[in-house]
Amino acid sequence: MPLVLLVRIATARSGDKGAGSNVGVIARSDAAFAFLKEHLDAGRVRSHMAGINSGGVKRYEADNLRLLNFVLEDSLGGGGSASLRTDAQGKTHGLAVLRMEIDVPQSVIDRTPAP
């Protein structure tokens, strides 16, 4: 199974949500969505984002949008305007998730248009 960056099969958008942020991961194809639904769970995102998020991660699904929504509970270094971080709004968290390395079956890659 080829090891690829998540961005090969998905795109993402993120932003602040209280003391945390949300990352919506949008699959580039139906095949990619089916694969991600099974393999990109909350625990995997949580360990990937451990340098940024110190809270839990919840996952929600929206099949109609080929979307997995991850809510990171403590990822801004303080809620409101209390954060000292440069990215106090979690604007870059989507790209951070897309830099995850992930083993993807060749058949899924073949059915997913490259960016």
């Binding site: 960056l5 961005v7 795109t11 993402a12 958008r13 932003g15 602040d16 949500k17 209280g18 003391a19 949300n22 919506g24 949008i26 990937h48 984002m49 451990a50 340098g51 940024i52 929600y60 699904e61 929206a62 099949d63 109609n64 949008l65 080929r66 979307l67 929504n69 809510v71 270094g77 303080g78 809620g79 409101g80 305007s81 209390a82 000292l84 971080r85 440069t86 990215d87 604007k91 870059t92 989507g94 790209l95 951070a96 897309l98 830099r99 995850m100 390395e101 960016p115």
Partner: protein, 457 residues
């Protein structure tokens, strides 16, 4: 009965600070029935409340008045209506300023409407006495913990008062803390005669409003595949083409830059999302998993089949409170050995402060080496080589203002008393600024009454 079968609503402002070219171009570069503008973030309400406490004529988005001054002749000529939450904590003063602009231009009979009733700061103790607890929705704590430090309290109002102002002939509607999607939903309620029980239709208007509420963030702005976005400098702001049956399309004016396709719209649908099955608003709970989204020609995406459920019997309240002080500052450190020297600089600052009796707890301080993997800390994909320069960014926070200010005095001295190659200290000493804490809460709907007023020039 619908007033017309199709309505075009464009959002020209995603936040206070968005480009003025958004609204200016929307009213000039193609057909439009409504222009909506979003100015309010949680932190904005607190700042506006402070401005108003110093000057009873202040407390609204002054940018809005300048924008109206610039586009008013186009609005009148083309009969475009405007809905904006520019009123902040003082919609009445905002209306008066807009009236002045209208009179200056010499237009007669133009209706300006305001929606009031969202600002419950003066009523807070009365409401608490009546049994409203305003417990923090995230932590469950009672408001009593921060009551003496509260700086603003605003209810996210329904879109129906916006529709009422339009029903009564307003061409410009100014609200305080209405919801962002409500700025779009209000005109659709007015145009199509949607009722409070039409949950699917209200949900459709809410989804449409959510997609466009951040302006160009659904037309190719902030898109993962940014290389495929044409002419980003002239990016088109989004337009909802809505129909009375609740179906709608997202598009933009022909000839503008940017891109509207399923991926760009899905990006924005995901923005600020929690549970997609229950997007809660004052008028409806919208189900973001319920609808179908399909490409409908170039730069056009259709959405149909949105479902909604009845709203709750409470409104969300956005409360802000003073929450201590913070200061941040930065210096640029050139190579060679940029990162190593930046680490030394940070170490020097903390040591010098400690020598003067000023120490900060780990959660009260931060060091970032911008250029050396700050945004994506801990995510090592391909390590870059040594950066040829880094920006050292440091900050502290806490309840003691003097201690926060003391930090700011030890950053700039590094230029002459640290390693070589330290520069970029323009802007001087970092100063303590107030931290504004947010306190999301609920209030029973029956405790809140809204007022709509329409005046004519």
């Amino acid at each position: 009965m619908p007033r017309r079968d199709k309505v075009l609503v464009g959002n020209g402002q995603g936040f206070w600070g968005d480009s003025i070219l958004g609204p200016v171009r929307l009213v000039r570069e193609g057909p439009l029935d409504y222009l909506t503008l979003d100015y309010l973030a949680e932190v904005t309400m607190s700042i506006l409340q402070k401005l108003r406490s110093r000057n009873p004529e202040a407390g609204y988005a002054t940018d809005f008045v300048e924008m109206i001054d610039r586009v008013l002749p186009d609005l009148v000529k083309r009969d475009i209506k405007v809905v904006a939450n520019a009123g902040g904590v003082n919609p009445r003063a905002c209306m008066q300023s807009v009236m002045k602009v209208i009179r200056k231009h010499g237009f007669q009979g133009i209706g300006v409407g305001i929606v009031e009733g969202d600002d419950i700061l003066p009523r807070l103790d009365e409401l608490i006495a009546e049994g409203e607890e305003f417990c923090n929705m995230d932590t469950g704590e009672p408001l009593a913990r921060v009551r003496d430090r509260v700086t603003s309290a605003n209810v996210y109002l329904s879109a129906f008062p916006i529709a009422e102002a339009l029903d009564r002939g307003a061409q410009i509607v100014i609200t305080g803390r209405s919801t962002d999607p409500g700025l779009v939903l209000g005109p659709l309620i007015h145009e199509f005669g949607w009722q409070r029980g039409d949950h699917d239709l209200l949900a459709a208007g809410t989804v449409a409003g959510h997609i466009v509420e951040c302006g160009a963030q659904c037309t190719g702005g902030n898109l993962t595949d940014w290389r495929r976005v044409p002419d980003m400098a002239r990016i088109g702001y989004p337009i909802v083409e809505a129909r009375a049956d609740g179906s709608f399309a997202i598009t933009k004016h022909e000839g503008t830059g940017g891109i509207v396709d399923e991926n760009a719209v899905a990006h924005q649908l995901a923005y600020e999302m929690g549970d997609p099955r229950a997007y809660l608003g004052p008028d409806v709970s919208a189900d973001f998993t319920s609808f179908r989204m399909e490409a409908d020609g170039r730069d056009r995406v259709r959405i149909l089949g949105v479902r909604g459920r009845p709203p709750t019997d409470t409104y969300k309240v956005s409360i802000s409170h003073e929450d201590g002080w913070k200061a941040t500052g930065q210096l640029t450190i050139s190579g060679p050995d940029a990162l190593e020297k930046a680490r030394l600089c940070a170490d020097i600052v903390w040591k010098r402060l400690a020598m003067d009796g000023c120490e900060y707890a780990p959660e009260e301080k931060l060091v970032e080496f911008l250029g050396a993997n700050v945004c994506h800390a801990g995510i090592v994909v391909r390590e870059a080589g040594a950066p040829s320069e880094v920006v050292l960014r440091m900050g502290v926070k806490g309840s003691d203002r003097e201690k926060v200010d003391r930090f700011g005095m030890e950053l700039v001295p590094l230029v002459t008393s640290g390693p070589p190659g330290v520069t970029g200290f323009a802007g001087g000493r970092p100063k303590a600024t107030e931290i504004i804490g947010f306190w999301p809460a609920l209030v029973r709907k029956e405790k809140i009454s809204t007022r709509v007023e329409v005046v004519r020039s």
